[in-house]
């Protein structure tokens, strides 16, 4: 198999191991099946994203620390959370392109006996699947085609943007990569209004009303388009659309009942894995699973 030999340090971040274990589980299962080796490095901690607003320098060092831990093992990083992806990628850029930043990081990390010279590449799992495995190969492997399902893609923000740090691998105004990944499972990709809109997660801790209002619009548009589920690639989007869906329903006296599924879960189903193996909650995805 040409893609064999893929090996990454799996960067879980904060939200996934505590609140999105289904995403983690399905990613590990799917990666194993496709010949992607994910290595656990216990030293990994927070990526730095939540600290940026208080102190960008501290966030830079937290990100660099993680990049350095992977570098010391000679591994590139595979991320699952889009916010982790953007902070690690942007920090990498700054360290690689700015000698003064590089020197400063070296000096400050020395205080905790760490080092980072700038050689770790960072890729979100979706991009590993796209770039390294390839859509054609996924199509071949996905023998249990999900042709009866209508799936709405949700890109979120930090998977695509800021587009300059990602070398514009996809068009931030008209993205297509997640569409292609979903289509490879045989599922029908459903387009909907305001497809690129943010989940609202970024302001949840500051203004819950605004955050829930933003998420509610997405649920409305996805529902109106007749999708069976919304497909995500970031755990914070799941907090907004899955964990907070009941709250939105109660607050606005509306009913959505929209199943939320991570891309590796969708892919796992197409690879013939069981819902249980992929951490899919029966209670929340019954309607979806019975359609397959």
């Amino acid at each position: 198999m040409r893609w064999n030999g893929l090996r990454y340090a799996l960067f879980l971040g904060c939200t996934i191991p505590a609140r999105s274990r289904d995403y983690e589980l399905s990613t590990r299962r799917v990666a194993e099946r496709l010949g992607i080796e994910l290595v656990d490095l216990n030293e990994f901690a927070c990526c730095g994203f939540p600290i940026e607003s208080l102190d960008q320098e501290a966030a830079l060092l937290l990100a660099a620390r993680n990049l350095g831990i992977a570098e010391s093992k000679g591994l590139d990083i595979c991320t699952l959370c889009s916010a982790c992806t953007s902070v690690l990628t942007e920090t990498n850029r700054r360290i690689q392109e700015d000698g003064a930043v590089r020197t400063r990081v070296k000096e400050k990390l020395a205080a905790i006996d760490k080092n980072y010279t700038g050689s770790t590449a960072v890729s979100h799992i979706s991009r590993v699947l796209l770039k390294e495995v390839g859509v054609e190969q996924i199509e071949k492997e996905a023998t249990h085609k999900l042709t009866s399902l209508k799936i709405a893609p949700h890109y979120g923000c930090h998977y695509l943007k800021p587009s300059d740090i990602y070398d514009r691998f996809d068009d931030p105004e008209d993205p297509k990569t997640l569409h292609r990944l979903i289509a490879a499972t045989g599922a029908q990709v459903v387009s909907y209004e305001r497809e690129k809109d943010c989940c609202g997660g970024g302001v949840l801790a500051v203004d819950e009303n605004v955050a829930l209002g933003i998420a509610r619009e997405k649920l409305q548009h996805v529902k109106a388009a007749g999708a069976d589920a919304i497909c995500l690639i970031c755990p914070f989007c799941a907090i907004m659309y899955d964990d907070n869906q009941r709250k939105i329903e109660a607050k606005f006296s509306e009913t959505y009942g929209l199943p939320v599924i991570y891309y590796p879960q969708l892919l796992g189903l197409a690879l013939g894995m069981s819902a249980q193996d992929l951490g899919l909650s029966r209670a929340k995805t019954e309607a979806l699973l019975t359609k397959i």
Partner: protein
């Protein structure tokens, strides 16, 4: 805020503020803004609640309304979706500018309490959400490897920087 006469409002302006902002990473392009409002038109937060007005925040910062900008809640409302950063014809980089303004606000004692709580959690557990023994048991039950419940190095990094002084 109480509206004074034009004369007193004028004396409250800090003409050096735009330079101060431009000296913080992310604030460099503040002075490029020509007030077209593309940020406002693109903003998902403003789409829900018009109290958030990124174009106006930039204008206030350029004019030198230092205290009002740094003590206000609205600099904490950017969801950092980066839509405006993609579209801004002047490359002002609003989400980065908001981070720069927040960093300055933190130094003035105006850190948003939610962010302080997050920093405290990260300093104590190395992560935003604590992994307790109970969580590790659940993880193992699912076939997931256990994770460390602490990270001393993260606490040390935070202590060495501004984040640690405020948290």
């Amino acid at each position: 805020m109480k509206q004074g006469r034009p004369q007193s409002a004028y004396t409250q302006l800090d003409w050096k503020f735009r330079e101060e902002v431009a000296s913080v990473p992310g604030g460099e392009n503040l002075n490029k803004c020509y007030q077209c409002g593309t940020c406002n038109a693109s903003c998902p937060v403003r789409h829900i609640d018009e109290k958030y007005n990124p174009r106006k925040i930039v204008r206030m910062a350029v004019l030198g309304m230092r205290d009002r900008v740094l003590s206000s809640d609205f600099i904490w409302l950017c969801s950092s979706c980066y839509t405006c950063r993609e579209r801004c014809p002047q490359d002002v980089r609003l989400p980065d500018l908001m981070k720069a303004l927040r960093n300055l606000a933190v130094k003035e004692g105006h850190a948003h309490p939610s962010y302080l709580a997050q920093a405290e959690a990260i300093a104590s557990h190395g992560r935003l959400y604590e992994i307790e023994e109970f969580d590790n048991k659940r993880r193992q039950k699912m076939g997931l490897p256990p994770l460390p419940t602490k990270c001393e190095e993260v606490a040390r990094i935070l202590k060495l920087t501004e984040a640690g002084k405020t948290a």
